[in-house]
């Protein structure tokens, strides 16, 4: 592997997420890999980035990992503690969130995300987490980054429920629904996808070192656009891996 650094696929995904963030941006994150990605960006190329948690937490500097947003460990050393109305209202609804991270049970070819239910919505189904702030972030952030495991049962042509809108049915359907922005990247443990600006369908951007195009496509429930200049995802640097393991996620809770 590049410069001899061993890394896990979760670390690669976190690094890929961090690479999408720019200095000075306002970033809304939930827990898990997005938090690792955001803190990594902040400690490397984006020191002036602002990290928000929807329940009312600005720019925390946790020294211990938490079990979720409700864990005061992840609020530690915040610059402000406020409310949903403040974070999701005066920042997100006002149009000031540059990047939002989303995860989910299922994602379709247009970047629509399901966190609500699996099965038949009118018949037998299993109910899961639902939206929280995910629908709001997907609707209102300037762009979103989706992080999800690369499995055919998760990356599907049609999903059971659109909790968080991507490009809906493609083309200009998102704009017609009154929404701007939209998903920019989907990061999996095998590849990174972008979106075709015309059709709104997922387009393969790069595949991770050690995987093959066949492996990527055979574990997908839909056919993405595949460019002729397909790249290999840039691997993490030694310093990025060190920061994740020693400072950001030392217990390997999200990246182990």
């Amino acid at each position: 592997m590049a410069d001899g650094v061993a890394y896990s696929l979760s670390e690669l995904m976190a690094v890929a997420g961090a690479r999408e963030l720019k200095d000075g941006q306002v970033v809304a994150v939930g827990l898990g890999l997005p938090v690792v990605a955001a803190f990594l960006a902040k400690r490397t190329h984006a020191p002036h980035m602002t990290i928000l948690f929807e329940l009312g937490v600005v720019d925390p500097e946790p020294i211990a990992p938490g079990v979720g947003l409700a864990d005061p460990r992840v609020w530690y050393r915040a610059t402000m503690l406020s409310s949903f109305a403040d974070m999701l209202g005066t920042v997100l609804h006002r149009g000031l969130v540059d990047v939002g991270f989303l995860g989910g049970l299922e994602v379709d070819a247009y970047g629509n995300v399901n966190t609500t239910l699996l099965g038949d919505p009118q018949g037998t189904f299993r109910h899961f987490v639902g939206s929280g702030g995910a629908n709001d972030i997907a609707s209102l952030a300037r762009e979103t980054i989706i992080i999800i495991r690369h499995e055919a049962r998760k990356l599907k042509e049609t999903i059971a429920h659109i909790t968080s809108p991507g490009y809906l049915s493609g083309g200009d359907s998102r704009r017609k629904a009154g929404l701007s922005g939209g998903p920019r990247r989907v990061i999996t443990d095998k590849a990174i996808f972008g979106f075709d600006p015309e059709s709104g369908r997922m387009r393969l951007e790069s595949i991770h070192p050690g995987t093959t195009l066949d492996d990527v496509l055979s574990n997908l429930g839909f056919q993405p656009l595949v460019p002729s200049d397909l790249r290999i995802t840039e691997p993490p640097t030694a310093e990025q891996v060190r920061l994740i393991r020693q400072e950001i996620d030392p217990e390997g809770i999200y990246t182990g």
Binding site: G56, P72, H93
Partner: protein
């Protein structure tokens, strides 16, 4: 006199009321309130909260509530809201599922006395499609009089009572909420009245020394209950950490109706009151282990 014991505060809530709960996943949940409501046999509640939490799950599981208005939720890494999910799946819970922002906007509209509130999210999603079936009268499309564009508007939410777990309050109900407040300030202001359950009742002079810290004004509060560890096993910032072992026990039990019943029998029906519950889960020794570090807040 607003200061009263928990049973009196719970008894003030009539069957069929709409109760807004202060919990968020596994923090500042109105757990002692929920346990007492179950013991008193309260029925027919509508419950609302921006993010579903352990207080709501217990009340739905025990059959106290059969109507839920929420924005989705979980027990964070401890698991799903098993009782809520099960009753959504078997169709016995009337559920209206929003997002965090749309819930807080509904409370905000209620708090301001607005006729409706426009919102830019929800559009294009299946959340809105399901709401058109489950709560068709609570949203509409109107034309923005200034731009001529169509916009989605939501009906205000006005709970009969907000039940809020706080760190500090005085006898009049002037209350502080340390840490993030998620939807609590809007819930209280939208509701017709509030029940404050506080770790500690302090003299009014303490409140008057730093009135900028008051999040809930006393004149909106009908009852004040002093109840240390009232949110156990969930956390209260700067007071105590969540009790991982007891939340895990609940999350496991709640996965099946039988497991839940055994949990309720032991930790709710089997307990005379909150004090017996605290003794049962390990008393002062256990609670002392959960006490928050004053610097860390957890």
């Amino acid at each position: 006199m607003k200061v009263c014991d928990l049973s009196e505060a719970v008894a003030s809530v009539p069957a069929g009321s709409h109760v807004a709960l202060s919990g968020f996943a596994i923090t500042r949940c109105a757990m002692a309130f929920a346990r007492e409501a179950i013991r008193q046999g309260l029925r027919g509640l509508t419950i609302s909260q921006c993010v579903g939490a352990m207080d709501g799950d217990l009340l739905v599981g025990a059959g106290v509530a059969d109507h839920l208005i929420y924005g989705g939720g979980s027990l964070d890494r401890f698991g799903r809201l098993a009782c809520i999910n099960r009753r959504i799946e078997d169709g016995t819970l009337k559920v209206e599922e929003y997002s965090s922002l749309s819930m807080v906007f509904r409370y905000l509209a209620g708090s301001l006395g607005l006729p409706f509130i426009p919102i830019r999210s929800l559009r294009g999603s299946d959340i809105l499609k399901r709401l058109a079936q489950t709560a068709p009268g609570d949203h509409a499309n109107v034309v923005d009089p200034f731009t001529g564009e169509e916009c989605l508007v939501l009906r205000p939410l006005v709970p009969d009572v907000a039940v809020v777990q706080v760190q500090v309050a005085d006898a009049d109900g002037n209350a502080r909420v340390y840490g993030p407040r998620w939807d609590n300030a809007e819930q209280v202001r939208a509701a017709k009245r509030a029940i404050v359950i506080t770790e500690r009742v302090v003299p009014g002079d303490v409140i008057r020394q730093q009135p900028e810290q008051t999040v809930i004004p006393g004149f909106r509060v009908s009852h004040v209950v002093q109840l240390p560890f009232g949110a156990h096993p969930t956390s209260v910032y700067r007071a105590y950490d969540y009790d991982a072992e007891e939340i895990r026990r609940y999350a496991e039990a709640a996965k099946t109706p039988d497991g839940l019943q055994a949990y309720l029998d032991e930790f709710v029906y089997g307990m005379r009151d909150h004090w017996e519950y605290l003794a049962h889960i390990g008393g002062a020794e256990r609670l002392n282990r959960l006490a928050a570090d004053p610097i860390l807040g957890y």
